[in-house]
Amino acid sequence: MGGPGLPCVHCGLCLDTCPTYRVLGTEADSPRGRIYIMEGIRDGELEFDDEAALHLSRCLGCLACESACPSGVSFGRRIEEFRPRLAERTGSTRRWQDLARKAYTSDALVDAGVKVASLLDRAGLGGVRRKVPGLGLLPGSLPGSQPSSSAGVSPLRRSTSHQPLRARARVAVLTGCVADRVLPDINRDTVEVLQRNGIEVVEVAGQQCCGALALHAGLTSDAVELAAANANALAGSDIDFVVTTAAGCSAMLRDYAHVLAGTSAAGRGEELASMSRDICELLVEIGFDAPARPLEARGNVAFHDACHLLHAQGISSAPRRVCEVALGRAPVDLGENAICCGSAGSYNIDHPVLSAEIGARKAELARERKATVVAVANVGCMLQIGQAVALAGLPTLVKHPVQLLAEAYRRSDTGA
């Protein structure tokens, strides 16, 4: 059956990897069903009405279906073609578009959100706050992380103490629009880990949000604009790699050749795509030091795969390896690792109930694994799983592998 890329042969092997199908049980909320609906609309057999839009908009874009599909169907490309039309249709998506636009154009909004969240938390209203779409996800008292008290100050500028004298490589860290403001310690730890391993970290003027938020919200031209700005700023500068800590960003950068195809920035986009690395991927690629004293975790450290690493980029062993080195032993798998946690950008706002239901399963698994820490290499997943374990009343911490590594280095420094 037609559509961009290889045909869907309707085998159904993708069904059970789809988080929305697993929760709802409706074929229209499965990859095979969504493809069928998109083809039906294209062939004029189905109307693109609210109902069809609902089923399509429930897609998390996690791409687990692509990993599962033996026929090589490019689900992501197919749904991407529909995103702008989807955005036009649904009011909630329009609200999200506004939010998304503010998120990548103004730091103030996100900072304000973080501030409100931590105020509510301090007032003992964390439980209520966690149920509010948008605010619920913000870390506030997310176990294991500090609320951002440094709004407006780039974390990059605050940590230069470990800058190596002679560098093995020069990298720029893509600071990200939302991630950087919500969980700034991750970028700070990233810089520290890179520097400790003899990698020079530089700041490149003119870099923007990667554009993934915009693309997902159906704001295609915004996405192209942001991508072009990044490509021109970063691909032209004197660096070896662009490092990201958010999986959605590295996946987006990797896709720049496609996003920028046909524009004047196409060549630079391709170049930038080849320079893009996830932080764990880069560490494993060029080698990194083992801490003298690895972290000693009581109980299990349970590793979860971020969809935009596993499914979008095929990265699975690198973040595990970083955890293993930081801990001195391999983490266990959280279980159902190929299944998305339900985070996915706007999802928490567009489909709060479904998102929470999908997330709740991760808390259940954390309980089953007796996990004291869940390690996952993506900010969005950290927020979502953090919210889920908090709502489930679990004491589980949620950490990025690079945070674990940074903590292990610091522990080794102090000898404590």
Partner: protein
Amino acid sequence: MQDNSPRSFAERPVVAPATTQDALQAAPHLATAPPAGSDRRVVDAIREIVGPRGIVDGASARKVYECDGYTLEKSVPRLVVLPATTEETSRVVSVLAGAGIPFVPRGAGTGVSGGCLPLQSAVMIGTSRLRRIRSIDVEARTAEVEAGVVNLEVSRAVDAHGLYYAPDPSSQSACSIGGNVAENSGGPHTLKYGVTVNHVLALEVVLPDGRVIWLDREYDAPGYDLVGIFTGSEGTLGLVTAARVRLMRKPESVTTLLAVFPGVAQASRAVSAIIAAGIIPAALEMMDALVIEAVEAAYHFGFPAGAGAVLLIELDGIAAGLDALAARVHDCCTREGASEVKRAAGEEERALLWKSRKRAFGAMGRLAPAYCTQDGVVPRSRLPEIVAKIAEVASRYHLRIANLMHAGDGNIHPLVLYDEDVPGEVERVLAAGNEILTACIELGGSITGEHGIGIEKMALMPKSFTAPTLAAMEDIRTAFNPRGLCNPGKILPSSRTCVEVRRPRPRGGG
């Protein structure tokens, strides 16, 4: 209770003449038709039982249920119901039975014979929300699981205890236990461990009138083996809501060999040689050149270029002696012309080999926009003959046919590649499939090894069975399903009445 006294099939009306039913029969059942106004009361009653999440009545949400893995015939269900418990299922079926409305069970829709195609305006009852693993008894090595539980999930749930659920259809990552029971599904490891019926101990069933019964064969129960009758009945006797299944201990040691042959003929002879040598491999699978091309494109295992056929041979058991057994298999293969025989180096290579095999069906999408999976059986010794026949049919009909076989049990899966857009191609696919299956019967085999009759192969039933045998089958169905309300129009040809099947739509561009 009305009209459940068994009568011969021919005597009774296919559907009871109830007034609601009359109205429903008149309702259009095309893709975009909303549930007819007269449905309202029934729909409301059902909604009351299952709640808003258990009912699918919108146009696009229903349309996606118009076919399963068999895409040559399509029909949109008037309504899809997704009950979450046995009790809900039973109450829904009672409402439908009371209104005389037929229904069709659906699991994951990975079936490849159109088994869950809704005919006669049937309401579809899906098991995708019946997904609890109710209990696991490690000591007794059994598990009670609901019908919608995915096959592979059973093995995952008991993995920590060193146990697994043996029947492993290639669709096991998606298909449901209920669907497995309905189709009596097998898989690569059927050769040594048997099919679904050998691993089901008891079934919880909702009868077509809504009553819930347990069929139990666990302790050599006296009386008829109703579990045996239900397994493989393709949803025509009732709806399975749960099964108690047998779990197996994982073998101490496993080794997998890959043997490369110049052609299918040599590979088939090697299959016979292995069995003749008294060896029963855990699995003995064959893929021909076209299949190898597709899986190589998908999984890059590194099958030797230009291989005409490969055998995948798995041996398992206690570690001692496995090497000697592998050496004997190696000998059999080289003697029949294998150019190369190698053992999977480690668990990772073994897993990749099996992934290639299990996903081979799906990987065919890399070669053609669509394919039709045939499923036939021949006595193992006649494999070379059927393979020659398939090649001849392919060239005569100008079709490409790839061959995938559970060679150990003579179960062949010719995959007929086609493109809906090419005028007349669908017709040629159907005709070619018929010829191949007829040849299977003539060679002393059968028209299905594991995919069932469904809608696809009904016309071939009279070629496979005598009239009295078919009549006996109908009597069995009538006993359980007297009003023909449960999965009407399937398996037995005489019941193919008021079929309202839509031919596939012509594909648009892209």
